[in-house]
């Protein structure tokens, strides 16, 4: 559904993505992992069209996204930190977002109801706590029933009840056959919510397969140790490359 | 014919009854020759011109006659020479329309041209498309009143002066309207003449131009939109009072240009929207009092060689520059004026500012040297420069100071 064809991106001298290739299929839920600065956010933002790759192309439903914006109708995006117009009330924010996609008439209000956002719809965004803003972000991401959900650290900052509500929502969406991309540092969440693991290291895909095979390859029974092993391997690779370079 | 005979009869009877004189009244109709009627008349007679157009020029009058127009008859000079040429005393010309003189600069073609005349009255005439309007040489005790002179020339060389006096004295010029000529009113070697209540506008060169003309007075005239305003040169003992100088705009245009004037008074005049209100050069002992300078580019341009002039109790409001000078102007007195740009204070509440006012600001000095710099006027940078100069004067002449600036404008009514 989304294919990333050999994109490269440099920020200044730093090469964040190198000939990056990856494809995401419908019905799967991907955990995108990697150390800080490995290129996870750049990848997500490239898919959203917020970062423009230097080389390569990204296809959504077989069409290049370059210079287009209509494909974003298919995407629900929950940013890491959602900041909104300070003077806008929650209710107004929702009607504005609905206004941005006038062709969609069917709204998914599950999260709005479960987070009880209706009760505070007259509060302005500026007065909300970080957690409440995250709830708003989450509710907005699901509002249009999009085929693709991109969730950047979705559970960060949410209280435990809200985390549970959100997780069950994500699961329901996954079961209904949507494509879901999640980045998170909370491995237990990822294990619970995803079936595919992608590990990015220094702008390249280091691992890309199902969580089952990840466990097999690393010969670990649990997700966290498996990832830990993956990280160790990357470090080794790094040292070997170094050695190679010096040789 | 019958009625006119009867009319003539009554007039004659009336005259005989009052037994004032033996003069008679002659009626003229269009188509008859004015010159012949003049030749036939005797001194003291009255010619009445019936309404209509008389095509005639070069009519010479050498005796005391009264020529009256009935319903403003027109004498059309047909573009040739002068229309009336008069050399006599006690001539009265009233109610005529004179049009289309010649355009010769050789003989200065005029609507009416007087030589060596005395005690004449020129009243309520309309002069259109004349080269010179009313032209007087070597005459005295003339009364020029309520005439309207209009020239439609496009350029300065295509027209002469409206009211032109040369070597005349004791005249009265009042309530005339002069427009579109080269100079509206031109006086040269004229003395003891009063110019009052005239409206002089849109003349190509000066509204009022006088040279070597002493002891004259100008009161309540309006000079508006003339090419270069009013020029007064080489003159002394002059009184200019309660005149209005308006919208004299141009590269070398002034409300008044005073050049080599002395011992005169400029009182109660209004200078509104002129490029330069008063431009002075080589003038001394002039009193300027109770004048209003408003919305001029420069209210005063005081050139070097002006001394002992007094500027007292005038209002200066909304002029771009209040005063400028080309160098060190000394020995002039500036006092008790109201300057709207004054930013001082009055702690003792005597309506006089406690710190002196410097009417010459830095930028006016710069603009005087480099005219193109005017385009930067009112920019933040220039404002800053002027502020600095006010605190630490370096370039502006420090003698030009009003030591007792008024806090409130004078009400001249």
């Amino acid at each position: 559904m989304i294919s990333v064809n050999a994109i490269s991106k440099k920020f200044g001298k730093q090469e964040v993505l190198k000939e990056f290739k990856l494809s995401f299929e419908k019905g799967n839920s991907y955990a995108i992992m990697g150390p800080n600065g490995s290129g996870k956010t750049t990848l997500i933002k490239s898919i959203l069209g917020m970062v423009l790759p230097d080389k390569g192309e990204i296809l959504v439903n077989g069409q290049s996204i370059k210079g287009r914006n209509d494909y974003r109708q298919l995407i629900g995006y929950m940013p890491q930190i959602g900041r909104y117009p300070q003077n806008m009330k929650i209710g107004q924010l929702f009607s504005m977002m609905k206004d941005m996609r006038p062709e969609i008439k069917q709204y998914d209000l599950d999260l709005v109801e479960e987070f009880e956002l209706d009760k505070i719809k007259d509060k302005s965004m500026g007065t909300l706590s970080g957690g409440t803003r995250q709830k708003v972000s989450a509710a907005l991401a699901f509002l249009f029933n999009p085929e693709i959900l991109i969730l950047d650290e979705p559970t960060a900052g949410l209280d435990p009840i809200a985390v549970e509500i959100l997780k069950s929502k994500i699961k329901r969406e996954r079961e209904s056959g949507k494509l879901i991309l999640i980045t998170s540092h909370i491995l237990s969440d990822l294990e619970e919510l995803t079936n595919q693991a992608i590990y990015i290291f220094e702008g390249e895909v280091f691992f890309n397969d199902s969580i089952e095979s990840l466990k097999e390859i690393t010969s670990e029974e649990k997700f966290s140790p498996a990832i830990a092993k993956l990280m160790q391997w990357t470090l080794k690779k790094k040292s070997t490359t170094k050695v190679l370079t010096y040789a | 014919m019958k009625t006119s005979v009867r009319f003539l009869f009554f007039v004659l009877v009336g005259m005989l009854v009052s037994s004032i004189s033996l003069s008679k009244t002659i009626l003229l109709k269009p188509g008859t020759s004015i010159q012949k009627a003049v030749d036939a008349a005797s001194a003291g007679d009255t010619l009445i011109l019936k309404s209509g157009v008389y095509r005639e020029n070069g009519i010479v009058i050498r005796k005391s006659l009264t020529i009256l127009g009935e319903n403003r008859p027109e004498i059309d000079g047909q573009g040739k020479g002068n229309i009336l040429i008069i050399a006599a005393d006690q001539v009265r010309i009233e109610g005529l329309k004179l049009s289309n003189t010649g355009r010769s600069t050789m003989d200065d073609s005029a609507g009416i041209k007087f030589f060596d005349s005395k005690h004449c009255v020129i009243k309520n005439n309309l002069l259109e498309n004349t080269f010179f309007g009313l032209h007087f040489s070597n005459s005295s005790d003339m009364t020029i009143t309520e005439n309207v002179l209009i020239s439609n020339a496009e350029r300065e060389y295509q027209t002469g002066n409206g009211i032109h006096l040369w070597k005349c004295k004791n005249n009265l010029i009042t309530n005339n309207q002069v427009s579109g000529h080269r100079d509206g009113v031109y006086l040269e070697f004229v003395t003891k003449t009063e110019v009052e209540d005239n409206l002089v506008s849109k003349n190509k060169r000066y509204g009022l131009h006088f040279m070597f003309s002493h002891e004259n007075s100008y009161r309540r005239n309006t000079f508006r939109g003339n090419g270069a305003g009013v020029a007064v040169m080489y003159t002394k003992n002059m009184v200019m009072e309660n005149n209005r100088f308006e919208e004299n705009w141009g590269a070398s245009s002034y409300g008044i240009l005073l050049k080599d004037i002395s011992d005169s008074k400029v009182i109660g005049n209004t200078f509104l929207k002129n490029t330069v209100g008063i431009y002075m050069e080589g003038s001394s002992r002039i009193e300027f009092e109770g004048n209003t300078f408003r919305e001029n580019g420069w209210a005063l341009k005081l050139m070097a060689s002006c001394d002992q002039n007094t500027f007292k109790g005038n209002n200066f409001t909304q002029n771009t520059f209040d005063m400028s000078s080309n160098g060190s102007v000394v020995l002039n007195t500036i006092t008790e004026n109201y300057w709207d740009k004054y930013e001082g204070y009055d702690l003792d509440k005597n309506y006089v500012g406690d710190i002196p006012y410097r009417p010459i600001n830095l930028y006016s000095v710069i603009v005087e040297k480099i005219p193109a710099a005017v385009i930067l006027w009112r920019s933040f940078m220039v404002t800053l420069l002027d502020r600095m100069e006010k605190i630490l004067p370096t370039l502006t002449p420090d003698q030009m100071i009003d030591q007792s600036p008024k806090m409130r404008p004078y009400d001249f009514g």
Binding site: K45, L48, G49, M50, V51, L52, N69, D70, Y71, R72, Q73, I75, P79, G82, R83, Y84, P85, Q86, N87, M88, Q92, M96, M97, D99, M100, R101 | W249, G250, A251, S253, K273, N274, T275, V276, E295, N296, G297, W298, T317, Q318, N319, T320, D340, I366, I370, P371, A372, A373, V374, I375, L376, W377, R378, S379, F380, M381, V382, T383, L384, P409
Partner: protein, 255 residues
Amino acid sequence: MLKLLKYALYDILKSRFAIIYTVFLAMVAVSIYQVSDDLSKVSLSLMNILIMIVPLISAVFATTHFYNNLEFIELMLAQPVKRSQVFLSQLFAVILMLSLSIVIGFGLPMVLWGADSSLITLLAVGVILSAVFTGFAFLASVITRDKAKAIGISLALWIYFSLVYDGFVLYLIYSFADYPLEKVTLGLVMLNPVDLGRILMLMQLDISALMGYTGAFFQQFFSSGLGVLVSAGALVLWMLWPGMLASRVFGKRDF
């Protein structure tokens, strides 16, 4: 586009800044009306303030606003809308707000106590300068990623156009005083929007002075059909190009 503008405007018009700025301008205008005894003095004083304050506030506020809205801009970028529209809606919202503040802040006292053509011109100049400096501020904002740096650039542009540039022109006129510099000066003036705005006012307030000497050349130019066309064209360019360039940079920028 209109939708985006509507929401951007809605946000900005309700901001505390919009109210403070309007009230500030109104207070300035009211106090000047109180102390001045006639209208042309009012427009003179207002102009002195406007020429300096409006570009400064526009530059600083627009930069700050852009950075404060960056997250919101990012939110919009993830929606199915065009990038250029996201940008332009922000730009126009700021320009509209700043203009409205001027029109209301200066305009209400004018409605109350009267205005003449110079005051109406003043409002127009205020709106134009707001647009120009908002354009500059947005340009400064998109070419840097640092708010402080962007504010620095905006301030530098303000100082340059309000002060340094005129100093340079004066220096030039002074140094080449012996040459006819009218046309050069005219050309130089076209390169500074603040000067152009100021001259629009000069044409109203100092018409008598401009009629003299070299001034007549400027006066003739700025009141001739060609001059009006050229100077209006220059002002329009000044209003457009910083914003357009900024929009292009914005279109290629990563978020």
